[in-house]
Subunit: 281 residues, 2 copies
């Protein structure tokens, strides 16, 4: 099958690598606004050739939109309008309500499947693409009843090839849960990086002393702003809701320290340890 | 050389494993208030035998205090008072001002070396001990001028055996820097876990969807309260200072979202990316 990857970065590139290895994609056409990325993706064997959006869409059975969420919602009408009856479009963006709203009134809505594979790293671009990414993680498929059965089945095959667990939910639930299990972690990391950069004037000390714990909480701060600003914008209300709660929780720690209430501080830490139950079950 | 490890958990246990492997410790005596830990440490080959504090101190050339910071400061007078002239005591706690203050007026102060190896995981107890831990990380040695040259030299040998980079600073500087590069990360993680546990009522969703990003920012939330409450208590002022800044930084993200100021939001995220410069140089 010919697959067009629109956006040859971390996610699109990693998908292409596995879909080619598994033989699911016989030919991968790359579409990217950056010619440098396109060239790099070809060098790395992620794509077989580069093409314009129009040529890529026309040649492919499956078109995967793997670009920032605002760009995905923006391109979708153009892609869907151009589609022949047996073609399928899927997106892999981190928010789902916006793109589904953009698709709603289009005549080819049923050829579109809205998804979110829950995998990523803090790196971006084709050079960040990884072999064997995604395996074991959840792939969320949203509002499946609005997609044609054959389109849905093809996208399910994609995620089977990536060895992901398929999870079905409506777009609103997805965006709410994503705010908790992904988006807030990024805000926390960005803010933590800014805290340390703002207050710790001796950068050599950070470099010299930084331990694994610091690196793991702050690594997401390296994530690409062009990807994350649109996510926060699209998921603004859910993210604000979780962020408010997060500030409230941090204030509890602050209050314990200010009042030297170490009994309650211990309770807060013990409560936090309950996350074990959820992560390891 | 005979080494007594007071506290046979994650840090003490991991040190014992490497010091034995390197031949630096010919015999390791374990001292622990938990007989279950002592038994486990023996089973795992971390220690050769268990003993009371008194018997352990009397038999060892080097005594390593690897217990929560308040317990370490509490035991130190008792240990130093008992010491023969050629013996050395070191601690490995995450705060240094408290234990150094506790040591200051004791006659054997010069036999004590205050240190902090910057390595750890979110796990605890002897079963959490790791082979080849510590390597490549910083080992901070504080106020070295207050330790006898031979005591300092012995402790430097310990860290050379662990393949750590030795870093020297005064206790006050250590505690300030540790608040930035370690302690605040833990508070962030605890608060993030509590945020998600408080607000995300569908625990199955967390379990199903949690991605690597979430796990890496929240993993420190599994850390042991008995270790961390004393650290936050001892380093209260520095931690409060950094925590206030962190809340201020999070409020900036909140304000951007509330006012839909995506230009400034992007700037904040770009600023955060500067952490790369400090972590990777």
């Amino acid at each position: 099958m010919v697959v067009a990857i629109v956006g040859t970065g971390l996610i699109g590139g990693s998908m292409a690598l596995t879909l080619k290895e598994k033989g699911f994609a016989e030919r991968v056409i790359g579409v990217d606004s950056s010619l440098v990325h396109l060239q790099k993706a070809r060098e790395l064997g992620i794509i077989d050739e580069g093409a314009s959006l129009e040529a890529g869409v026309d040649a492919a059975k499956l078109i995967i939109l793997a670009i920032p969420v605002d760009a995905g919602a923006g391109l979708l009408p153009q892609v869907l309008t151009r589609l022949k009856p047996d073609q399928v479009v899927m997106d892999v963006g981190s928010t789902k309500e916006g793109i589904i709203a953009a698709a709603r009134k289009l005549p080819n809505r049923a050829r579109f499947v809205a998804t979110h594979p829950m995998w990523g790293t803090e790196f971006s671009g084709p050079q960040a693409a990884e072999h064997h990414a995604f395996a074991g993680r959840a792939a969320v498929i949203c509002d499946r009843e609005d997609s044609a059965p054959d389109a849905l089945a093809l996208v399910e095959q994609v995620y089977d090839n990536l060895e992901m667990r398929k999870v079905y939910m409506d777009a609103a639930s997805h965006d709410m849960h994503a705010a908790y299990v992904s988006h807030i972690s990024h805000i926390t990391s960005f803010a933590l990086a800014n805290t340390v950069l703002e207050k710790e004037k001796e950068e050599d000390a950070i470099f010299t002393l930084a331990s694994g714990g610091f690196e793991s909480t702050v690594r997401l701060a390296k994530s690409n702003p062009s990807m994350w600003v649109p996510i926060f914008r699209e998921n603004r209300e859910n993210v604000l809701d979780v962020l408010n709660e997060h500030i409230t929780q941090l204030r509890k720690f602050k209050s314990c320290l200010e009042k030297e209430n170490y009994t309650y501080l211990k309770e807060l830490i013990e409560q936090a340890g309950e996350i074990r139950r959820v992560l390891n079950k």
